[in-house]
């Protein structure tokens, strides 16, 4: 106990915020694994894996997981979870395309869709924070609600952007063209716009989580909810914000996917929330809350992307890919746990971490 206290007081952000260091260490160890994977696949498929074209494809392939993952990071860090993200993504896609084909201006459709995303977050937050349903159950329920809405609104049939009224199909500069550019457009060199959108979005969320007041409050809530409340943090509001970020991210993702596929599919995004959670965990986010940042999620998403893409390139069939990815997920996390346990920066059980946090914060207050 004494040892841990000492360690924490050495940290620049002592008390609640002492976790940033751990997350960065995990990010670094994940980064090594990522580099190892790059080298492995570059060795197995020389000239193909590292080709500009394939790297651009790879980045485009991780856009969905990375964006949903960034939103989910907020939920995970504040000690919650959001299983409704995939369904919320499908609903957002349906809404934006349904409005577009009714001839509404594109900016308005996008804004309404994003508001809808925030509303789904508010609904999740309401069930969890106000009605006190545990996050797993609440978002499992809302997952069905959003999926049902997405299906019901369009009677189960996809909505196509080719039905957007006005200009000739595919005319450059028309609504259809602009909408397609969001998710499917590329720079002259071949780099998709959506990759830039993802990076900018991740950067913004990263700054919000690491550098702002609300971000630090999220860490506080995730580390020790009771202590956070005692120190005057509006825990309900903070966690509400986290769920809204998740819903908002899902909405962005819904727009990008609908754009790239030129259609909104009511069954889109099935299981994407699990992929996003896996990416976050692979990157080093603690599922118990209070630890991790956006960098972890992005590295995790990259790892998932590299593994998938690499296994496709060396011709491994889908079922064995699942086996391999599952094993890597568990082994990577076990490895991280072991390393940090040994270096003493993470105590073995989450319970003990919580207790220690509580103790140190009390000591500081007194």
């Amino acid at each position: 106990m004494r040892k841990i206290e000492k360690k924490e007081s050495n940290n620049a952000f002592s008390g609640f915020y002492g976790n940033l260091g751990v997350a960065t260490k995990r990010a670094i160890s994940s980064m090594f694994l990522l580099i190892a994977l790059f080298v492995l696949f570059a060795f197995l498929r020389p000239g193909v894996f590292l080709s500009t074209n394939n790297i651009q494809n790879l980045l485009q392939q991780i856009v969905t997981y990375a964006i949903i993952g960034c939103g989910l990071t907020f939920c995970l860090v504040c000690g919650g979870n959001d299983l409704s993200a995939g369904a919320s993504m499908a609903l957002s896609g349906i809404i934006v395309v349904s409005l577009l084909v009714r001839g509404w201006p594109m900016w308005l459709c996008i804004v309404l869709c994003l508001i809808m995303g925030v509303l789904t977050g508010i609904m999740n937050g309401y069930f969890i924070e106000i009605l006190g349903v545990i996050p797993f159950v609440a978002t499992l329920g809302t997952q069905w609600v959003y999926r049902g809405l997405a299906n019901g609104l369009v009677d189960g049939a996809p909505v196509y952007t080719v039905d957007i009224p006005g200009e000739a199909v595919g005319a450059v500069g028309g609504t259809q063209w602009w909408f397609y550019q969001l998710g499917g457009g590329r720079f002259p060199g071949g780099l998709p716009y959506s990759v830039i959108i993802m990076l900018v979005y991740a950067l913004i969320l990263g700054v919000v989580l690491a550098k702002t007041r609300i971000g630090r409050q999220i860490y506080a809530c995730g580390s020790n909810l009771e202590a956070a409340k005692l120190s005057g943090i509006n825990a309900v509001g903070t966690r509400m914000f986290a769920y809204c970020m998740s819903g908002f991210s899902a909405a962005i993702c819904g727009i990008l996917v609908a754009s790239r596929m030129s259609s909104a599919q009511p069954m889109a995004g099935n299981g994407y929330e699990m992929e996003a959670i896996a990416a976050a965990v692979l990157g080093g986010i603690a599922i118990t809350g209070g630890e991790g940042n956006i960098l972890n999620t992005i590295i995790g998403a990259l790892m998932m992307g590299v593994i998938r893409n690499g296994l496709n390139l060396i011709g491994v069939n889908s079922y064995w890919q699942q086996v391999i990815i599952g094993m890597i997920l568990v082994i990577a996390v076990a490895q991280q746990m072991r390393r940090h346990r040994r270096s003493g920066s993470v105590t073995p059980s989450p319970l003990r971490v919580l207790y220690t946090r509580f103790f140190t914060s009390q000591a500081k207050a007194g």
Binding site: Q61, L149, G152, L153, D155
Partner: protein
Amino acid sequence: MKKLTALVLALAMMCALVACATGDVPSTSPAGSGTSTTGDSSAANDPPAPNTPPAAEKKTIYILVKVLGNQYWSIVEAGARKAGEDLGCNVVIIGTAAESEVEKQVALLQDAVSAKADGIVIAPLDRKAMAAPVSEQFKAGIPIILIDSSVDTEDYSAAYLTDNIAAGRLAAEAMLTKLRAIGTPEDKEGVIAVTVGSTGSQAIIDRDDGFKEYWDANAPAAWKVLWDEIKVNDGDAQKALTFGQDFITSYPNLIGFFAPNNGSTVGFVKALEESGRTDITMVGFDFSAEMEAIVRNADYNVATVLQRQYYMGYDGIKKALEIANGGTVTEKVVDTGVMVVDNANVDSAEVQNVVNGG
């Protein structure tokens, strides 16, 4: 109480917003296994309940599609609804959330029987697992019409199916014709990549078998299909797109794409369009908006095998109603047939008739 009001308000807010989005909101279905009812106005939303017997002789036919929220099935549903309107019967559409939910389909079938359906149209999810439940209900005296897929029993009234092996052969034939039409060298190594929705679906297995059979008998030895590297996309078009991209990256000698179901087809079409590879020949299944766009584009060498699923829905309901009204069956298994559509015949009256449901 206050909380309850707030909850209702939040829900109302959401519904209001989404209602704007679609104007006419149809009766919706909860994600998994929902019910949406159509037919004539009056008792449309009220399948016969024990206390209120339905008006006069109006029959109620249940149709169990495979997956709700899927483009292929939405066309079957449209056919069924049209039949309901034309023939003046109640049509109740139910379905599962995924092709793997066989157990849930058994429950849905039982529910339809409990609801005193006059006839049941069903697309069985699994030919072995659904055999006993279908047989049991048929023997209990309910007319059962199979659509899309068959089961391992003779206990049903009639079946409206695509002969999927024949459809697979036709797809292979179209692929060979199209490859030769653009002068692909027959002595040079070339590979065909395949992605499927699932490897457990009998329809997909049959199509692959038909394709394989025709291909092995007729294709030049240098053209190989990558059967060992078949990719499973779980019906997610975006996953299929990823596989398509990676196939293109991985095989410089890729000459063709084969996709035996709708989701796979959409993904591969997108992969072709994004990469701009007009030199890759493709044969897919079904006629989604994506497929229509690429078929109409003369730069691409693409064909699709069209099923007549609208008629499966329409004729299925029609036949069920006939039998419920005391009719008899003359032809037990009807092949609804397929056709190959490409740039040359897409605007022909015959194709348009099938696409738009006659």
